[in-house]
């Protein structure tokens, strides 16, 4: 037996539950117990003590108590998508029964299986999935593969000439910043045109 033979599923959210509003996926619980047999003692205790608190707090879950003579106590949970699960409560204490009910209340109706991935997304990529052409210059399309420019040496370090050019550019920028705000080039040109006419 391995992971390929045992059924497995991806993480699912039934009908986008929770996106708009959250709907408890548990439709009804049926607690079938015996009125006299000792195996149902814990179930009977639960019905006496904790049942009303549960039903008051969960008006959306219908709770049926089904007395069945000489049978083991069984909790049947039915979910909105039609899935049905039964738990035998023979050896459970009252607290354990409450825990089982709490589990059913919090579950979706998806059958418990090995989940392949702990996450699911409908939008795996926001900026777009990478493809080999994504960061390639389009001029490659019109460049012959024997072109000399493709076999140029690309140095890791800047050459002296490059450094000088950059220093000049930086100086020019600083000068522009230090000068007071001038009228934009367009305004100057328009004034010139008006003056010339």
């Amino acid at each position: 037996m391995g992971s390929s033979t045992i059924p497995s599923t991806f993480l699912k959210n039934i009908a986008q539950n929770g996106i708009g509003r959250h709907v408890c996926q548990l439709q009804r619980l049926t607690l079938s117990l015996c009125k006299s047999h000792p195996s149902s003692a814990a179930a009977r205790k639960f019905v006496e003590d904790d049942l009303l608190d549960f039903t008051k707090g969960n008006p959306g879950i219908v709770f049926y108590v089904k007395p069945r003579r000489h049978r083991a106590p069984v909790l049947t949970a039915e979910f909105l998508n039609g899935y049905k699960e039964m738990i035998d409560l023979t050896r459970c204490t009252k607290e354990e029964i409450a825990q089982w009910i709490g589990l059913m209340r919090g579950r979706s109706g998806v059958q418990i299986m090995r989940i392949r991935k702990d996450w699911h997304t409908d939008t795996p990529s926001i900026q777009g999935m990478w493809n080999p052409f994504m960061f390639k210059d389009t001029k490659l399309n019109v460049t012959d593969k024997m072109d000399k420019s493709l076999s140029e040496y690309i140095s890791k370090y800047k050459s002296a000439s490059q450094k000088l050019i950059e220093m000049k550019k930086l100086q020019k920028q600083q000068k522009e910043l230090e000068q007071p705000l001038k009228e934009s080039t367009r305004v100057i040109q328009e004034k010139k045109k008006a003056a010339s006419h």
Binding site: A15, Q16, I19, G20, R21, P59, N81, F133
Partner: protein
């Protein structure tokens, strides 16, 4: 009643077998087997020996199981057939589960199918009763619900996608109101056992009618001011409870789906030319961006569409023609604000206080291409 342990276990065994046999008697197998000798067979097995050895019991149970498999699966029965059903509680829980305050009478009416009312009338006719079946079915509620859902979905889509063409809006609306989408939503709301129809399980149409009727029932249950505002000139008002219901259950079915694929575009390049002309932009220029493996059986061509020397859309394709068409689609997507990087739909808490304009209509393809 106190019994000795030994005696009780024997009685217990007998009762178990008797009870098991009862279920066997109800199955179809016995119906087919009921000829004169069958009765004798049934009778002899009912009175099993008092102290049955486990070997005989196991053999008997195995044989029963084998015959049950032979006959086939039991017919699916409504939960009321098993004795645990309270319709009023179930209807109440249905409303509470959805977080809504329903008008009880309207909600109960929402589950009654027309076929059910008719079958009840037939039954009463056959029985010769003169009583009138005075219950109303859910067709009217379903009709109201459908209209509301349709109007709201369109208004919401127009609000979310203001630049998308009217045809695109209608295509997305048709997807949301399609049979399969509505059935998917309805089948996960837990209406299967509440639906009152002559057949069980109910048909897919019953599910959809019930879902629409529930929305219709919600319109009648809404006592807030927004719904009772009869001022027709006020086209912008808050969402009613029924509209919030549609927003929470139906609209999220768009999540994870490509909405541009829902709209069938026959000639994307033609539409693109018309759209650009209408917007006063230049004509589209398709250019090959990259290509690879041209001489093989799996070439890839990347075509980009330039408008006024700016790259608006691009796409790969198996041939240059396909790539060009796909690039036209991509360009349209970007121009209509439907790119994959657009902001997501407003759902849930974000959309609680939306104000939609119901009179609004998006631009139609005819308007753009006829210019």
């Amino acid at each position: 009643m106190i019994q000795k342990v030994g005696k009780m276990s024997a009685v217990h065994n007998l009762r178990n077998i008797f009870l098991l046999h009862n279920s066997f008697r109800n199955s179809k197998h016995v119906v087919s087997m009921l000829h004169c000798s069958a009765q004798k067979y049934v009778n002899t097995v009912t009175y099993a020996p008092k102290y049955t050895s486990s070997r005989r019991k196991v053999a008997y149970l195995k044989e029963l199981y084998r015959r049950k498999l032979e006959v086939g699966p039991d017919e699916v029965k409504h939960p009321s057939a098993f004795g645990c059903w309270n319709h009023a509680s179930e209807v109440y829980a249905f409303g509470k589960r959805l977080g809504e305050e329903f008008d009880e009478q309207k909600l109960a009416q929402a589950f009654i199918q027309k076929s059910f009312v008719e079958s009840e009338k037939e039954k009463q006719k056959n029985l010769g009763l003169l009583l009138d079946v005075n219950v109303e079915d859910n067709t009217k509620l379903a009709h109201e619900g459908r209209i509301l859902a349709s109007d709201f979905v369109k208004a919401y889509l127009r609000y979310s996608y203001p630049h998308l063409f009217e045809e695109g809006i209608c295509a997305i609306h048709d997807f949301l109101m399609s049979h399969s989408t509505l059935f998917h939503v309805a089948s996960n709301l837990g209406v299967r056992d509440l639906i009152q129809s002559p057949t069980y399980p109910p048909s897919e149409e019953d599910y959809i009618t019930t879902l629409m009727a529930v929305i219709g029932a919600l319109t009648h249950s809404d006592l807030s001011a927004a719904n009772n505002d009869h001022d027709v000139t006020n086209t912008k008002k808050g969402l009613s409870r029924a509209e919030l219901f549609v927003l929470d259950f139906l609209v999220p079915q768009l999540i994870g789906r490509d909405v541009m694929e829902m709209w069938e575009l026959a000639n994307p390049m033609g539409l693109l030319v018309g759209l650009l002309r209408a917007r006063g932009l230049g004509q589209p220029e398709p250019r090959m961006l990259w290509d690879a493996a041209k001489n093989t059986i799996m070439p890839v061509y990347n075509v980009g569409i330039y408008v006024d020397k700016k790259l608006i859309g691009k796409s790969p394709g198996e041939t240059a023609a396909i790539a060009e068409e796909m690039a036209a689609r991509d360009t349209l997507r970007n121009l209509l604000g439907m790119s994959n990087s657009r902001s997501p739909l407003q759902l849930g808490d974000q959309a609680r206080h939306l104000q939609l304009d119901y009179r609004l209509r998006n631009a139609s393809v005819q308007e753009v291409t006829s210019v």
